[in-house]
């Protein structure tokens, strides 16, 4: 095990993280910590800065200022350490349709340096776990949307990451496929202690699965706590939906550009 020199229970420490694109501030002075093993949901309307946050935490985008440590590694100075410690499921389809399910896993087993003798066992276990063993030799291009998502999760967790980042993991899936994906995610946390950090639009998903949630609005962190705490903060009788409207405004349509919308629709179409 590579020692990160950090024995605390925090798997994610974000301090004053900021990202600007020209004059536009996508993420504005975000400070946030996540405990090991937590299921953490990042909510917000389109353009709130959720995806930008995930991209910085997964080292895909350098921050303009501020810092974050993932599993003890700095995202700015220890990017490779971060990459070894995390798994990432982007919003768009990230497995290759012209390879089989098995091949999609094999390439990542190799890229993450899984010991050669363990590769086959690990892949078989992952396929079993995600209920894909029977379809392992089929081309992924023939998979259903739910199967694709489960394969993506299997692919991102083969190396047993400490934190799994998921950007809108259930977008475009029907309710049954959504439930199946969540069942596997929750099982995975139970079995391997994986921290789950995800973004979503679906409030009911956040409500039923998250230990804590954060609500972002225009790049800023507006609310943070358990669902119960946030609901109680508005006074008795409030739902999470009220909380969301209170902090994020009713606006679900701000700031999202054409490319993001068409990408999202395309994803939904491919998965659906």
């Amino acid at each position: 095990m590579v020692s990160s020199g950090n024995m605390s229970n925090l798997v994610l420490e974000i301090k004053n993280l900021t990202r600007r694109f020209g004059v536009f501030t996508a993420v504005d002075d975000l400070t946030l910590s996540v405990n090991a093993g937590e299921v953490f949901g990042l909510l917000g309307s389109n353009g709130a800065g959720k995806t930008t946050t995930i991209k910085m935490l997964t080292t895909l985008l350098p921050p303009t200022s501020g810092e974050a440590r993932v599993a003890g590694f700095s995202i700015t100075t220890q990017a490779v350490g971060v990459r070894r410690a995390i798994g990432y499921v982007p919003q768009a389809v990230s497995v290759d349709g012209s390879l089989t399910g098995y091949e999609n896993l094999l390439i990542f087993a190799k890229l993450y340096d899984l010991p050669h003798r363990e590769q086959q066992a690990r892949i078989a276990e992952a396929l079993d776990f995600m209920n894909l063993a029977a379809d392992a030799k089929r081309l992924v291009g023939e998979y259903s949307g739910g199967m694709v998502r489960r394969l993506e999760i299997a692919q991102s967790t083969l190396h047993r990451p400490k934190v799994l980042f998921l950007d809108e993991p259930t977008v475009g899936l029907d309710p049954i496929a959504r439930d199946a994906v969540w069942k596997h995610l929750i099982d995975m946390r139970a079995n391997y202690g994986t921290t789950l950090f995800f973004t979503t639009h679906y409030l009911e998903e956040a409500e039923s699965h998250c230990d804590r949630i954060a609500i972002m609005h225009q790049g800023k962190l507006d609310a943070l706590g358990t669902c119960k705490e946030l609901e109680a903060s508005l006074g008795p009788g409030h739902t999470l939906n009220d909380v969301f409207v209170h902090y994020a405004g009713s606006a679900l349509d701000t700031g999202n550009n054409f490319r993001a919308v068409s990408a999202e629709r395309a994803t939904a179409e491919r998965l659906g």
Binding site: V2, K55, L60, Q91, A92, I107, K110, L111, H159
Partner: protein, 264 residues
């Protein structure tokens, strides 16, 4: 996580071949691409080559014109296939594939070079086609194993070079429409400002200079030297190799620096 320490260079080489392997595995399922690609070199050799050989307009010294352009057409088809390779990474970017690879600990240069090599190996089919046509047309080929091996290596390196160039462009322009535009604009000058279908001696001075800065010129010279029976190199095979390898290395470095742009 595994505790084993792997030397960065070993890791780079390993990962490069992993990327190449899986790029090539994707090919198994689609062979139509290989067949459609055969058409272009066939047209150039059978029509353009035949007509110009008859006209006697080109002075190619003591080798017949068809023999002269056969290696040029091979280099050209390598260029044409490789220069549009970057469209694949734009596809992979529009999906989430590039992002996922970039979030993995794979060295960026291995991602770039691995893809380049796979393009190189895919282009070998063009060599088979050009050799078959040349045989049919009576081009005097050099069949010594060393010469064939050299052709193999040069084709792979040249395709790696131009596909990496293509990937660099893709990283800069990021969208399919702009990429296709830039690709079209670059192909013709690279092709015509080279020694592929005429000797550089007949070029005006300025163009001749441009052709000496064009890596394709060195690819053509190397192929011509190795493919044809009794054809001496104009520029020297070692210079050809040096230019090809150096350009390729620089492009891989640039590509590795620019590749993360695709995730943003």
């Amino acid at each position: 996580m595994t505790a084993t320490f792997i030397h960065p260079l070993t890791s780079f080489v390993q990962k490069t071949f992993v990327i190449t392997e899986f790029e090539l595995r994707k090919l198994r399922h689609d062979f139509t691409e290989l067949i459609t690609r055969a058409l272009q070199p066939a047209l150039w050799l059978l029509i353009f080559g035949q007509v110009f050989a008859r006209s006697g307009a080109m002075h190619t010294g003591n080798i017949p014109y068809l023999d002269f352009i056969a290696p040029g057409i091979l280099a050209q088809s390598v260029l044409f296939v490789a220069i549009f390779y970057g469209i694949n990474v734009i596809w992979e970017r529009d999906l989430g594939i590039v992002q996922k690879f970039l979030a993995s600990p794979t060295p960026r240069a291995a991602l770039v070079l691995g893809k380049g090599f796979s393009a190189g190996i895919r282009t070998l089919s063009q060599a088979v086609i050009v050799y078959s046509l040349s045989l049919l047309l009576g081009v005097k080929l050099n069949w010594s194993p060393l010469a064939l091996f050299n052709v193999l290596v040069i084709v792979i390196l040249a395709a790696t070079l131009f596909s990496t160039f293509s990937l660099v462009i893709a990283c800069i322009v990021k969208t399919r429409e702009r990429f296709m535009g830039v690709g079209q604009v670059l192909t013709m000058p690279l092709f015509f400002a080279s020694n592929a279908i005429y000797p550089t001696d007949i070029m005006p001075g300025w163009l001749k200079m441009v052709s000496h800065l064009n890596p394709l010129t060195y690819v053509v010279d190397a192929l011509r030297t190795c493919m044809l029976a009794g054809s001496p190199s104009t520029l020297g095979l070692s210079l050809d190799y040096a230019v090809i390898l150096m350009t390729m290395t620089i492009l891989v470095f640039v590509g590795a620096r620019l590749y993360p742009r695709l995730a943003t």
